[in-house]
């Protein structure tokens, strides 16, 4: 993983990485917005600047902030809500106005979220990307979609649900 995306490259003990995971509250628990490294990533199709690439060997999706022009197309198309636009004042301040995703903490043995997740929802595994196959991506989103007439923002599936699907 040559691309350094979030602050997780800064692995000194004093400075912990900044979270690139989003949480959405649901009736029961939360949904975790984290990149699923889709087989045919929608963000890659949407990117107008060549900023999103997929590693030819590992199939991991990578974002190159140097090329990003902040057009929001990838945010618009990701069905998992896994892409964030770094704000100037946010903790990902090193790249304001650029799209960022979870980079899998390349410089750590286990991703920090997995180290600290007490429920075992988030787990680190050194598998190839392409984790969410096309059909499964569509189905997972369909099953989880919960927009009702209320004001609920539609949730994304949890990671456990992903594994079962």
């Amino acid at each position: 993983m040559g691309h350094v995306l979030g602050d997780s490259s800064d692995n000194t003990v004093m400075s912990l990485p900044t979270s690139l995971i989003s949480l959405t509250k649901r009736d029961l628990g939360f949904d975790v917005g984290v990149c699923r490294h889709c087989e045919e990533p929608l963000c890659l199709d949407a990117c107008v600047a060549g900023s999103v690439t997929q590693d030819s060997k590992t199939r991991w999706v990578m974002f190159d902030a140097k090329r990003c022009v902040g057009c929001w197309s990838c945010v618009m198309d990701c069905p998992f809500g896994a892409i964030q636009m770094a704000a100037a004042k946010s903790s990902v301040a090193s790249m304001p106005g650029k799209a960022v995703i979870c980079d899998g903490c390349p410089n750590w043995d286990t991703p920090l979220c997995a180290q600290f997740c007490p429920q075992g929802v988030l787990q680190g595994s050194k598998v190839k990307g392409g984790l969410v196959k096309r059909q499964r991506r569509e189905r997972a989103v369909y099953l989880a979609s919960g927009v009702r007439r209320g004001l609920n923002y539609p949730p994304v599936p949890r990671l456990e649900a992903d594994r079962r699907a």
């Binding site: 949407a46 022009v69 057009c71 929001w72 618009m76 809500g81 892409i83 569509e138 989103v141 979609s145």
Partner: protein, 394 residues
């Protein structure tokens, strides 16, 4: 005789070449490139005009892309005529190409009134040449008037405003973004633009253009107002480049394609801004000229041309942009129609705006501003799910 011929080196054409090369690395392929440049991203022209990116960053592929993929390039040529039954394309430089599979990805040209076409300083925004001209003029202090209130007009105005260049928008409808936003959403965008320094005149249209020896000197509106300017950028939509097809398609109309990107003519495919495919929220054939559609349509066409049966899941009209720090995303049907079936849910929360449009129980569209944009991808999935359910119940 090349097996594959692609007309147009935009994102749809390139995406098709990549897809068919992944399946068929041998078959001869040729691409017709009207501008004769390294393929570049048209969407990046606006950040380029605002000096946010350099010219070489516009390139979509490496310079040796065609050579390393064994693709013959016909530079500076346009398709001039097509004989569908004899499977031949005639080029503007007198050349002729026979094909087994043809992809038409010739895009569109800005709709510019014919009497203005040759006037220096009046131009559309579609090519690198246009962008170079606007960029040079803008940074040299020329006054710019933008005719139109659509996405290109608004994005250009925002990009110029952000770097301190004054932009004046002349909009013929009552609101900007009349195709992409509801009234309230458009008003939020308009206010943001005006706060940042742009001037927007709705309900106005240009009655006459004052042309001097050096080019355009100003415009006068139908209400009598006169605005001096040295650049008039005309952003009033795009006409599909199908003139070379003669009587095969009506003048200025896009090419209708099926779910495998096939046109009505055997072995002729179309993708990108020139193609009209089925759209999920409206459930009708739509020319949804948008980057992700061009990418995916090109890929589907390429795979089918190379013998695979790839199916396009349908377009979903949508747009994303940031207007002077204000994120904006809209998708599907943005204005409810009259009738008991239609319903809207609007949420306003600390400056953000979320409008969801329903037809029956089905979500068919949304307008999202500021923080609400983060749910856009999930809403898209919801719209597609509702459309699939609707299609299977019929």
């Amino acid at each position: 005789m090349p097996k594959y011929v692609v007309i147009g080196d935009g994102v749809a054409g390139l995406s098709a070449l990549k897809a068919l090369r992944a399946i068929d690395s041998e078959g001869d392929a040729a691409i017709v490139s009207a501008e004769g440049l390294v393929p570049y991203s048209k969407v990046l022209l606006i950040p380029y005009i605002a000096n946010k990116i350099s010219e070489e960053k516009l390139n979509m592929v490496a310079r040796d892309f065609y050579a390393s993929n064994h693709v013959e390039v016909l530079l500076g040529a346009r398709a001039a005529a097509l004989d569908a039954s004899a499977q031949r394309v005639f080029l503007s430089d007198g050349g002729e190409l026979r094909f087994q599979k043809l992809l038409i990805a010739s895009g569109g040209d800005p709709t510019l009134p014919s009497q203005w076409k040759e006037v220096p300083g009046i131009l559309g925004l579609r090519t690198l040449a246009d962008a170079r001209c606007i960029r040079a003029g803008a940074h040299a202090g020329k006054r710019i008037v933008i005719s139109g209130g659509g996405l290109v007009a608004v994005k250009l105005a925002a990009a110029l405003t952000e770097v301190g260049i004054h932009a004046e928008l002349i909009v013929s409808s009552t609101q900007i973004l009349s195709q992409a936003a509801d009234y309230e959403g458009a008003l939020m965008v308009q206010r943001r633009l005006e706060e940042a320094g742009a001037t927007i005149t709705p309900n106005a249209s240009i009655a006459a253009v004052d042309v001097g020896p050096a080019g355009v000197r100003g415009v006068s509106l139908k209400n009598g107002k006169e605005i001096p300017c040295q650049l008039l950028v005309y952003c009033k939509g795009v006409t599909p480049n199908t003139q070379f097809m003669g009587s095969l398609v009506p003048a200025g109309a896009p090419i209708a394609v099926d779910s495998r990107m096939r046109s009505a003519f055997p072995d002729i495919y179309a993708a990108g801004d020139v193609a009209m495919a089925s759209e999920v929220s409206r459930q009708q054939m739509t020319c949804a000229a948008l980057w992700p559609h061009a990418t995916v349509q090109g890929r589907i066409a390429g795979r089918n041309m190379a013998g695979q049966a790839a199916i396009y899941r349908g377009s979903l009209v949508r747009n994303a942009m940031e207007i002077c720090g204000l994120p904006f995303i809209s998708m599907g049907i943005i204005n409810e129609q009259s009738g008991p079936d239609w319903d809207v849910k609007i949420t306003r929360l600390s400056g953000s705006y979320c409008k969801l449009v329903y037809r029956g129980e089905a979500l068919v569209g949304a307008v999202l501003i500021k923080d609400a944009v983060t749910i856009a991808g999930r809403l898209q999935a919801e719209i597609r799910k509702a459309a699939a359910a609707h299609a299977s119940s019929n």
